[in-house]
Symmetry: C2
Subunit: 265 residues, 2 copies
Protein backbone atom coordinates (compact mmCIF):
# COMPACT_ATOMS: atom_id res chain seq x y z
CA UNK A 1 0.00 0.00 0.00
CA UNK A 2 1.42 3.40 -0.90
CA UNK A 3 1.94 5.99 1.75
CA UNK A 4 0.22 9.31 1.02
CA UNK A 5 2.16 12.55 1.45
CA UNK A 6 0.58 15.93 0.77
CA UNK A 7 2.30 18.16 3.34
CA UNK A 8 5.17 20.37 2.28
CA UNK A 9 6.51 20.10 5.80
CA UNK A 10 6.88 16.31 5.58
CA UNK A 11 10.42 15.33 6.51
CA UNK A 12 10.90 13.02 3.50
CA UNK A 13 9.78 15.81 1.15
CA UNK A 14 12.40 18.08 2.66
CA UNK A 15 15.03 15.37 2.46
CA UNK A 16 14.35 14.60 -1.21
CA UNK A 17 14.14 18.24 -2.10
CA UNK A 18 17.59 18.72 -0.59
CA UNK A 19 18.97 16.17 -3.08
CA UNK A 20 18.96 18.96 -5.64
CA UNK A 21 22.11 20.12 -3.84
CA UNK A 22 25.35 18.23 -4.32
CA UNK A 23 26.26 18.43 -0.64
CA UNK A 24 23.12 16.53 0.32
CA UNK A 25 23.51 14.01 -2.51
CA UNK A 26 26.99 13.23 -1.26
CA UNK A 27 25.81 12.87 2.35
CA UNK A 28 22.88 10.64 1.42
CA UNK A 29 24.33 8.82 -1.59
CA UNK A 30 20.98 9.39 -3.32
CA UNK A 31 19.77 11.24 -6.41
CA UNK A 32 16.54 12.12 -8.22
CA UNK A 33 15.31 10.94 -11.62
CA UNK A 34 12.02 12.10 -13.13
CA UNK A 35 9.52 10.73 -15.61
CA UNK A 36 7.85 7.38 -16.15
CA UNK A 37 9.88 6.61 -19.25
CA UNK A 38 13.18 7.16 -17.47
CA UNK A 39 12.15 5.19 -14.39
CA UNK A 40 11.12 2.35 -16.67
CA UNK A 41 14.47 2.50 -18.48
CA UNK A 42 16.16 2.40 -15.08
CA UNK A 43 14.18 -0.69 -14.07
CA UNK A 44 15.13 -2.43 -17.31
CA UNK A 45 18.75 -1.58 -16.56
CA UNK A 46 18.34 -3.20 -13.14
CA UNK A 47 17.93 -0.04 -11.06
CA UNK A 48 14.98 0.37 -8.69
CA UNK A 49 14.20 3.52 -6.72
CA UNK A 50 14.28 3.62 -2.95
CA UNK A 51 11.21 5.85 -3.14
CA UNK A 52 8.84 6.33 -6.03
CA UNK A 53 6.56 9.39 -5.90
CA UNK A 54 3.54 9.71 -8.19
CA UNK A 55 0.32 11.69 -8.45
CA UNK A 56 -3.06 10.12 -7.66
CA UNK A 57 -4.03 10.16 -11.35
CA UNK A 58 -1.10 7.88 -12.10
CA UNK A 59 -2.08 5.37 -9.40
CA UNK A 60 -3.57 2.86 -11.84
CA UNK A 61 -1.11 3.29 -14.69
CA UNK A 62 0.21 -0.23 -15.36
CA UNK A 63 3.85 0.91 -15.43
CA UNK A 64 3.44 2.83 -12.18
CA UNK A 65 1.86 -0.24 -10.58
CA UNK A 66 4.68 -2.43 -11.83
CA UNK A 67 7.40 0.00 -10.72
CA UNK A 68 5.77 0.53 -7.32
CA UNK A 69 5.45 -3.18 -6.72
CA UNK A 70 9.06 -3.81 -7.75
CA UNK A 71 10.23 -0.89 -5.61
CA UNK A 72 8.39 -2.19 -2.54
CA UNK A 73 9.51 -5.78 -3.12
CA UNK A 74 13.06 -4.40 -3.17
CA UNK A 75 12.59 -2.73 0.23
CA UNK A 76 11.65 0.71 -1.16
CA UNK A 77 8.50 2.69 -0.67
CA UNK A 78 5.78 3.95 -3.03
CA UNK A 79 4.37 7.37 -2.20
CA UNK A 80 1.24 8.94 -3.59
CA UNK A 81 1.42 12.71 -3.69
CA UNK A 82 0.34 15.75 -5.71
CA UNK A 83 1.74 18.03 -8.41
CA UNK A 84 2.64 20.76 -5.90
CA UNK A 85 4.88 18.39 -3.97
CA UNK A 86 6.43 17.07 -7.21
CA UNK A 87 7.07 20.66 -8.26
CA UNK A 88 8.79 21.25 -4.96
CA UNK A 89 10.89 18.08 -5.31
CA UNK A 90 11.97 18.60 -8.93
CA UNK A 91 12.10 22.40 -9.10
CA UNK A 92 10.32 22.27 -12.47
CA UNK A 93 7.29 24.39 -13.27
CA UNK A 94 5.67 21.48 -15.07
CA UNK A 95 7.00 18.51 -13.13
CA UNK A 96 6.76 14.95 -14.35
CA UNK A 97 4.00 12.99 -12.62
CA UNK A 98 6.42 10.29 -11.47
CA UNK A 99 9.73 10.75 -9.66
CA UNK A 100 12.20 8.26 -8.25
CA UNK A 101 14.96 8.52 -5.66
CA UNK A 102 17.89 6.21 -6.40
CA UNK A 103 21.12 5.17 -4.76
CA UNK A 104 24.15 6.65 -6.50
CA UNK A 105 26.28 4.11 -8.37
CA UNK A 106 29.81 3.17 -7.71
CA UNK A 107 32.04 5.05 -10.13
CA UNK A 108 35.47 3.46 -9.96
CA UNK A 109 37.44 2.87 -13.17
CA UNK A 110 37.91 -0.78 -12.20
CA UNK A 111 34.24 -1.42 -12.95
CA UNK A 112 34.72 -0.65 -16.64
CA UNK A 113 35.17 -3.45 -19.15
CA UNK A 114 36.75 -1.64 -22.07
CA UNK A 115 36.09 -4.57 -24.37
CA UNK A 116 32.35 -3.99 -23.94
CA UNK A 117 32.32 -1.30 -26.63
CA UNK A 118 34.39 0.18 -29.43
CA UNK A 119 33.63 3.77 -28.35
CA UNK A 120 34.07 5.42 -24.98
CA UNK A 121 33.49 9.04 -24.01
CA UNK A 122 35.95 10.88 -21.78
CA UNK A 123 35.30 14.38 -20.45
CA UNK A 124 37.80 16.53 -18.60
CA UNK A 125 36.63 19.23 -16.16
CA UNK A 126 33.25 19.44 -17.84
CA UNK A 127 31.23 22.05 -15.94
CA UNK A 128 27.77 22.11 -17.47
CA UNK A 129 25.35 19.42 -16.24
CA UNK A 130 23.32 19.69 -19.45
CA UNK A 131 26.42 18.92 -21.49
CA UNK A 132 27.26 15.95 -19.27
CA UNK A 133 23.76 14.51 -19.55
CA UNK A 134 23.67 15.13 -23.29
CA UNK A 135 27.01 13.31 -23.76
CA UNK A 136 25.55 10.34 -21.87
CA UNK A 137 22.48 10.40 -24.10
CA UNK A 138 24.65 10.57 -27.23
CA UNK A 139 26.79 7.77 -25.82
CA UNK A 140 23.72 5.56 -25.57
CA UNK A 141 22.78 6.44 -29.17
CA UNK A 142 26.16 5.49 -30.65
CA UNK A 143 26.45 2.38 -28.49
CA UNK A 144 29.30 3.76 -26.41
CA UNK A 145 30.39 1.87 -23.35
CA UNK A 146 30.17 4.81 -21.01
CA UNK A 147 31.55 8.13 -19.88
CA UNK A 148 34.75 8.63 -17.91
CA UNK A 149 34.83 11.88 -15.95
CA UNK A 150 38.38 13.16 -15.52
CA UNK A 151 39.39 15.76 -12.94
CA UNK A 152 36.75 18.08 -11.48
CA UNK A 153 33.68 17.47 -13.65
CA UNK A 154 30.17 18.48 -12.67
CA UNK A 155 28.21 15.86 -10.72
CA UNK A 156 26.57 13.30 -13.07
CA UNK A 157 23.84 12.76 -10.44
CA UNK A 158 22.68 16.40 -10.49
CA UNK A 159 19.05 16.84 -11.45
CA UNK A 160 19.99 18.69 -14.65
CA UNK A 161 22.48 16.04 -15.79
CA UNK A 162 20.07 13.18 -15.08
CA UNK A 163 17.32 15.05 -16.94
CA UNK A 164 19.47 15.78 -20.00
CA UNK A 165 20.67 12.16 -20.12
CA UNK A 166 17.08 11.00 -20.77
CA UNK A 167 17.69 7.72 -19.02
CA UNK A 168 21.18 7.11 -20.38
CA UNK A 169 22.55 7.70 -16.88
CA UNK A 170 21.18 4.25 -16.08
CA UNK A 171 22.42 2.49 -19.20
CA UNK A 172 25.87 4.04 -19.73
CA UNK A 173 28.74 3.17 -17.41
CA UNK A 174 30.09 6.15 -15.50
CA UNK A 175 33.52 6.39 -13.90
CA UNK A 176 35.42 9.18 -12.18
CA UNK A 177 39.18 9.49 -12.09
CA UNK A 178 42.05 11.91 -11.94
CA UNK A 179 44.02 12.36 -15.17
CA UNK A 180 46.89 10.26 -13.79
CA UNK A 181 44.56 7.46 -12.73
CA UNK A 182 42.78 7.50 -16.08
CA UNK A 183 45.98 7.45 -18.11
CA UNK A 184 47.43 4.58 -16.06
CA UNK A 185 44.22 2.59 -16.49
CA UNK A 186 44.02 3.36 -20.21
CA UNK A 187 47.61 2.30 -20.91
CA UNK A 188 47.12 -0.96 -19.05
CA UNK A 189 45.19 -2.30 -22.06
CA UNK A 190 44.26 -1.56 -25.67
CA UNK A 191 42.70 1.79 -26.53
CA UNK A 192 43.27 4.81 -28.79
CA UNK A 193 42.98 8.12 -26.97
CA UNK A 194 41.70 10.83 -29.34
CA UNK A 195 41.56 14.48 -28.29
CA UNK A 196 39.17 17.01 -29.74
CA UNK A 197 41.56 19.87 -30.18
CA UNK A 198 41.99 23.26 -31.77
CA UNK A 199 45.77 22.79 -31.92
CA UNK A 200 46.03 20.35 -34.79
CA UNK A 201 45.68 20.28 -38.57
CA UNK A 202 44.17 16.79 -38.72
CA UNK A 203 40.56 16.89 -39.85
CA UNK A 204 38.40 14.47 -37.88
CA UNK A 205 37.37 12.63 -41.07
CA UNK A 206 40.96 11.67 -42.01
CA UNK A 207 42.03 9.08 -39.43
CA UNK A 208 40.97 5.47 -39.27
CA UNK A 209 40.00 5.10 -35.63
CA UNK A 210 41.08 2.04 -33.69
CA UNK A 211 38.71 0.28 -31.32
CA UNK A 212 38.28 0.87 -28.51
CA UNK A 213 38.40 4.59 -29.28
CA UNK A 214 38.40 6.92 -26.27
CA UNK A 215 37.07 10.36 -27.31
CA UNK A 216 38.41 13.05 -25.01
CA UNK A 217 36.72 16.45 -24.74
CA UNK A 218 37.86 19.24 -22.46
CA UNK A 219 36.39 21.98 -20.33
CA UNK A 220 33.79 24.20 -22.05
CA UNK A 221 35.77 27.42 -21.65
CA UNK A 222 39.40 26.30 -21.60
CA UNK A 223 39.47 23.11 -23.65
CA UNK A 224 42.09 20.50 -22.72
CA UNK A 225 45.40 21.29 -21.03
CA UNK A 226 48.23 21.11 -23.58
CA UNK A 227 49.96 18.36 -21.58
CA UNK A 228 46.83 16.22 -21.75
CA UNK A 229 46.60 16.68 -25.51
CA UNK A 230 50.24 15.71 -25.83
CA UNK A 231 49.53 12.43 -24.02
CA UNK A 232 46.86 11.48 -26.57
CA UNK A 233 47.46 9.12 -29.48
CA UNK A 234 45.77 11.50 -31.87
CA UNK A 235 44.48 15.07 -31.94
CA UNK A 236 41.75 15.97 -34.41
CA UNK A 237 39.70 19.04 -35.15
CA UNK A 238 36.34 19.74 -36.69
CA UNK A 239 36.14 22.16 -39.61
CA UNK A 240 34.99 25.60 -38.45
CA UNK A 241 33.53 27.79 -41.17
CA UNK A 242 32.21 30.67 -39.07
CA UNK A 243 33.46 33.44 -36.82
CA UNK A 244 33.71 31.37 -33.67
CA UNK A 245 36.57 28.98 -33.01
CA UNK A 246 34.79 26.32 -31.01
CA UNK A 247 31.65 24.23 -30.72
CA UNK A 248 29.61 23.31 -27.70
CA UNK A 249 31.41 20.41 -25.96
CA UNK A 250 28.49 17.99 -26.27
CA UNK A 251 28.04 18.88 -29.95
CA UNK A 252 31.71 18.35 -30.80
CA UNK A 253 31.72 15.02 -28.97
CA UNK A 254 28.61 13.86 -30.83
CA UNK A 255 29.93 14.78 -34.28
CA UNK A 256 33.12 12.86 -33.48
CA UNK A 257 31.26 9.88 -32.05
CA UNK A 258 29.09 9.59 -35.15
CA UNK A 259 32.19 9.75 -37.32
CA UNK A 260 33.70 6.83 -35.41
CA UNK A 261 30.42 4.91 -35.48
CA UNK A 262 30.13 5.53 -39.22
CA UNK A 263 33.52 3.89 -39.78
CA UNK A 264 32.42 0.84 -37.83
CA UNK A 265 29.04 0.31 -39.55
Amino acid sequence: MPREITAFSNSLVKRVRNLREKRHRREEGLFIAEGLRILTDAEEAGRLPQWIFYTAEMRNHPLVRRLSAACEADGGEAIETNVDILHKLSGKDNPQTVLGVYAEFETSLDRLDRAASGIWMVAQSLRDPGNLGTILRTGDAVGAGGLILVDDCVDPFSVEAVRASMGALFTQRIAKASWAEFLAWLRSGPGQLVALSLRTDIDYRQPSYEAPTFLLVGNEARGLPAAYEDACDLRVKLPMRGRADSLNAAIATAVMAYQVLGQRL
Copy 2:
Protein backbone atom coordinates in the same frame (compact mmCIF):
# COMPACT_ATOMS: atom_id res chain seq x y z
CA MET B 1 31.55 59.87 -19.76
CA PRO B 2 29.91 56.76 -18.33
CA ARG B 3 27.04 57.08 -15.94
CA GLU B 4 27.56 55.27 -12.65
CA ILE B 5 24.79 53.06 -11.28
CA THR B 6 25.17 51.15 -8.03
CA ALA B 7 21.60 51.19 -6.66
CA PHE B 8 19.41 48.12 -7.05
CA SER B 9 16.42 50.46 -7.04
CA ASN B 10 17.59 52.33 -10.13
CA SER B 11 14.82 52.35 -12.73
CA LEU B 12 17.10 51.27 -15.61
CA VAL B 13 18.36 48.32 -13.54
CA LYS B 14 14.77 47.22 -13.00
CA ARG B 15 13.95 47.72 -16.66
CA VAL B 16 16.91 45.68 -17.89
CA ARG B 17 16.34 42.99 -15.31
CA ASN B 18 12.77 42.65 -16.60
CA LEU B 19 14.17 41.78 -20.04
CA ARG B 20 14.75 38.29 -18.71
CA GLU B 21 10.99 37.86 -19.23
CA LYS B 22 9.61 37.46 -22.73
CA ARG B 23 6.68 39.78 -22.06
CA HIS B 24 9.00 42.67 -21.29
CA ARG B 25 11.30 41.88 -24.23
CA ARG B 26 8.32 42.04 -26.53
CA GLU B 27 7.12 45.34 -25.05
CA GLU B 28 10.55 46.95 -25.21
CA GLY B 29 11.95 45.24 -28.32
CA LEU B 30 15.20 44.80 -26.38
CA PHE B 31 17.30 41.86 -25.18
CA ILE B 32 20.41 41.13 -23.10
CA ALA B 33 23.75 39.73 -24.23
CA GLU B 34 26.63 39.06 -21.83
CA GLY B 35 30.38 38.87 -22.07
CA LEU B 36 33.07 40.96 -23.69
CA ARG B 37 33.76 38.39 -26.40
CA ILE B 38 30.11 38.27 -27.47
CA LEU B 39 29.68 42.04 -27.40
CA THR B 40 32.78 42.34 -29.56
CA ASP B 41 31.41 39.74 -32.00
CA ALA B 42 28.18 41.75 -32.09
CA GLU B 43 30.05 44.95 -32.90
CA GLU B 44 31.94 43.21 -35.70
CA ALA B 45 28.58 42.02 -37.04
CA GLY B 46 27.37 45.63 -37.00
CA ARG B 47 25.33 45.52 -33.79
CA LEU B 48 25.89 48.04 -31.02
CA PRO B 49 24.18 47.98 -27.63
CA GLN B 50 21.80 50.70 -26.50
CA TRP B 51 23.34 50.33 -23.07
CA ILE B 52 26.64 48.74 -22.11
CA PHE B 53 27.14 47.88 -18.43
CA TYR B 54 30.57 47.03 -17.05
CA THR B 55 32.38 46.82 -13.73
CA ALA B 56 34.87 49.46 -12.64
CA GLU B 57 37.77 47.02 -13.09
CA MET B 58 36.91 46.78 -16.77
CA ARG B 59 36.86 50.55 -17.25
CA ASN B 60 40.25 50.73 -18.93
CA HIS B 61 40.08 47.51 -20.93
CA PRO B 62 40.74 48.56 -24.53
CA LEU B 63 37.78 46.58 -25.89
CA VAL B 64 35.44 48.06 -23.27
CA ARG B 65 36.66 51.54 -24.13
CA ARG B 66 36.14 50.90 -27.84
CA LEU B 67 32.68 49.39 -27.33
CA SER B 68 31.62 52.16 -24.97
CA ALA B 69 32.78 54.86 -27.37
CA ALA B 70 31.01 53.19 -30.29
CA CYS B 71 27.87 52.71 -28.21
CA GLU B 72 27.80 56.37 -27.17
CA ALA B 73 28.58 57.62 -30.69
CA ASP B 74 25.58 55.55 -31.81
CA GLY B 75 23.30 57.28 -29.29
CA GLY B 76 23.62 54.62 -26.59
CA GLU B 77 24.91 54.92 -23.05
CA ALA B 78 27.86 53.41 -21.17
CA ILE B 79 27.19 52.54 -17.53
CA GLU B 80 29.73 51.69 -14.89
CA THR B 81 28.36 49.39 -12.23
CA ASN B 82 29.31 46.53 -9.92
CA VAL B 83 29.14 42.73 -9.85
CA ASP B 84 26.04 42.71 -7.65
CA ILE B 85 24.08 44.72 -10.19
CA LEU B 86 25.37 42.54 -13.05
CA HIS B 87 24.31 39.49 -11.08
CA LYS B 88 20.87 41.02 -10.70
CA LEU B 89 20.65 41.82 -14.41
CA SER B 90 21.89 38.47 -15.74
CA GLY B 91 20.59 36.13 -13.06
CA LYS B 92 23.94 34.33 -13.06
CA ASP B 93 25.88 33.57 -9.90
CA ASN B 94 29.13 34.44 -11.62
CA PRO B 95 28.04 37.13 -14.06
CA GLN B 96 30.16 38.33 -16.91
CA THR B 97 31.79 41.69 -16.19
CA VAL B 98 30.29 43.28 -19.32
CA LEU B 99 26.65 43.20 -20.43
CA GLY B 100 24.89 44.84 -23.37
CA VAL B 101 21.25 45.64 -24.07
CA TYR B 102 20.39 45.39 -27.77
CA ALA B 103 17.44 46.08 -30.02
CA GLU B 104 15.78 42.89 -31.25
CA PHE B 105 16.26 42.23 -34.97
CA GLU B 106 13.65 42.03 -37.63
CA THR B 107 12.87 38.36 -38.27
CA SER B 108 10.86 38.20 -41.47
CA LEU B 109 11.59 35.48 -44.04
CA ASP B 110 11.92 38.14 -46.74
CA ARG B 111 15.23 39.22 -45.22
CA LEU B 112 16.86 35.87 -46.01
CA ASP B 113 19.01 35.47 -49.09
CA ARG B 114 19.00 31.71 -49.55
CA ALA B 115 21.89 31.90 -51.99
CA ALA B 116 24.11 33.20 -49.19
CA SER B 117 24.82 29.66 -47.93
CA GLY B 118 24.50 26.02 -48.92
CA ILE B 119 23.17 25.02 -45.47
CA TRP B 120 20.24 26.43 -43.52
CA MET B 121 18.81 25.29 -40.22
CA VAL B 122 15.06 25.03 -39.68
CA ALA B 123 13.51 24.24 -36.30
CA GLN B 124 9.85 23.51 -35.67
CA SER B 125 8.28 24.18 -32.26
CA LEU B 126 11.65 23.98 -30.55
CA ARG B 127 11.06 24.61 -26.84
CA ASP B 128 14.44 24.63 -25.18
CA PRO B 129 16.36 27.93 -25.33
CA GLY B 130 19.67 26.09 -24.84
CA ASN B 131 18.95 23.94 -27.89
CA LEU B 132 18.03 27.00 -29.94
CA GLY B 133 21.20 28.84 -28.99
CA THR B 134 23.31 25.73 -29.56
CA ILE B 135 21.84 25.27 -33.06
CA LEU B 136 22.77 28.88 -33.85
CA ARG B 137 26.30 28.25 -32.59
CA THR B 138 26.59 25.09 -34.69
CA GLY B 139 25.16 26.99 -37.65
CA ASP B 140 27.97 29.50 -37.36
CA ALA B 141 30.52 26.66 -37.18
CA VAL B 142 29.31 24.94 -40.36
CA GLY B 143 28.88 28.22 -42.21
CA ALA B 144 25.09 27.97 -42.31
CA GLY B 145 23.10 30.98 -43.50
CA GLY B 146 20.86 31.09 -40.49
CA LEU B 147 18.02 29.55 -38.53
CA ILE B 148 14.36 29.61 -39.51
CA LEU B 149 11.99 29.17 -36.56
CA VAL B 150 8.75 27.53 -37.63
CA ASP B 151 5.56 27.61 -35.54
CA ASP B 152 5.80 28.27 -31.82
CA CYS B 153 9.50 28.08 -31.05
CA VAL B 154 11.09 29.46 -27.90
CA ASP B 155 12.23 33.08 -28.09
CA PRO B 156 15.70 33.37 -29.68
CA PHE B 157 16.27 36.58 -27.68
CA SER B 158 15.87 34.86 -24.30
CA VAL B 159 18.91 35.15 -22.05
CA GLU B 160 19.51 31.38 -22.18
CA ALA B 161 19.34 31.19 -25.98
CA VAL B 162 21.63 34.19 -26.44
CA ARG B 163 24.07 32.70 -23.93
CA ALA B 164 24.13 29.25 -25.60
CA SER B 165 24.60 30.84 -29.04
CA MET B 166 27.96 32.26 -27.91
CA GLY B 167 27.60 35.24 -30.22
CA ALA B 168 26.13 33.36 -33.18
CA LEU B 169 22.83 35.15 -32.54
CA PHE B 170 24.53 38.19 -34.03
CA THR B 171 26.13 36.45 -37.00
CA GLN B 172 23.45 33.96 -38.08
CA ARG B 173 20.28 35.19 -39.80
CA ILE B 174 17.13 34.43 -37.84
CA ALA B 175 13.61 34.30 -39.27
CA LYS B 176 10.23 33.32 -37.83
CA ALA B 177 7.36 31.91 -39.85
CA SER B 178 4.37 29.62 -39.74
CA TRP B 179 4.78 26.28 -41.51
CA ALA B 180 2.60 27.51 -44.42
CA GLU B 181 4.61 30.70 -44.78
CA PHE B 182 7.90 28.82 -44.64
CA LEU B 183 6.85 26.23 -47.20
CA ALA B 184 5.55 28.88 -49.61
CA TRP B 185 8.80 30.82 -49.29
CA LEU B 186 10.94 27.68 -49.65
CA ARG B 187 9.15 26.52 -52.83
CA SER B 188 9.51 29.95 -54.42
CA GLY B 189 13.18 29.15 -55.13
CA PRO B 190 15.78 26.38 -55.05
CA GLY B 191 16.24 24.34 -51.89
CA GLN B 192 16.16 20.75 -50.65
CA LEU B 193 14.12 20.30 -47.48
CA VAL B 194 15.53 17.43 -45.40
CA ALA B 195 13.72 16.17 -42.29
CA LEU B 196 15.44 14.49 -39.38
CA SER B 197 12.98 11.70 -38.82
CA LEU B 198 12.47 8.42 -37.01
CA ARG B 199 9.99 7.24 -39.70
CA THR B 200 12.41 6.43 -42.49
CA ASP B 201 14.95 3.80 -43.44
CA ILE B 202 17.34 6.19 -45.15
CA ASP B 203 20.59 6.54 -43.24
CA TYR B 204 21.79 10.16 -43.16
CA ARG B 205 25.09 9.18 -44.83
CA GLN B 206 23.44 7.78 -47.97
CA PRO B 207 22.00 10.81 -49.82
CA SER B 208 23.92 13.37 -51.79
CA TYR B 209 22.53 16.62 -50.44
CA GLU B 210 21.65 19.45 -52.84
CA ALA B 211 22.52 23.05 -51.99
CA PRO B 212 20.92 24.96 -50.47
CA THR B 213 20.02 22.21 -48.01
CA PHE B 214 17.40 23.10 -45.40
CA LEU B 215 17.79 20.83 -42.35
CA LEU B 216 14.49 20.53 -40.49
CA VAL B 217 14.37 19.38 -36.87
CA GLY B 218 11.18 19.06 -34.82
CA ASN B 219 10.04 19.59 -31.28
CA GLU B 220 12.15 17.96 -28.55
CA ALA B 221 9.38 15.71 -27.25
CA ARG B 222 7.12 15.13 -30.25
CA GLY B 223 9.41 15.41 -33.27
CA LEU B 224 7.89 16.68 -36.51
CA PRO B 225 4.20 16.34 -37.42
CA ALA B 226 3.79 13.56 -40.02
CA ALA B 227 2.29 16.02 -42.51
CA TYR B 228 5.39 18.20 -42.25
CA GLU B 229 7.66 15.23 -42.87
CA ASP B 230 5.59 14.29 -45.90
CA ALA B 231 6.15 17.74 -47.35
CA CYS B 232 9.92 17.33 -47.19
CA ASP B 233 12.06 16.31 -50.16
CA LEU B 234 13.91 13.76 -48.06
CA ARG B 235 13.63 12.11 -44.65
CA VAL B 236 16.77 10.71 -43.06
CA LYS B 237 17.63 9.12 -39.77
CA LEU B 238 20.71 8.73 -37.66
CA PRO B 239 21.78 5.26 -36.59
CA MET B 240 20.70 4.55 -33.01
CA ARG B 241 22.63 1.77 -31.28
CA GLY B 242 21.32 2.13 -27.74
CA ARG B 243 18.10 1.81 -25.79
CA ALA B 244 16.74 5.26 -26.56
CA ASP B 245 15.11 6.11 -29.87
CA SER B 246 16.11 9.74 -30.21
CA LEU B 247 18.92 12.22 -29.78
CA ASN B 248 18.88 15.71 -28.34
CA ALA B 249 17.55 18.04 -31.07
CA ALA B 250 20.66 20.22 -31.21
CA ILE B 251 22.89 17.13 -31.34
CA ALA B 252 20.97 15.52 -34.21
CA THR B 253 21.01 18.78 -36.15
CA ALA B 254 24.76 19.14 -35.67
CA VAL B 255 25.59 15.60 -36.79
CA MET B 256 23.47 16.17 -39.91
CA ALA B 257 24.98 19.59 -40.57
CA TYR B 258 28.53 18.22 -40.37
CA GLN B 259 27.55 15.42 -42.76
CA VAL B 260 26.32 17.99 -45.30
CA LEU B 261 29.38 20.18 -44.74
CA GLY B 262 31.63 17.15 -45.19
CA GLN B 263 30.12 16.49 -48.61
CA ARG B 264 30.80 20.07 -49.66
CA LEU B 265 34.42 20.29 -48.50
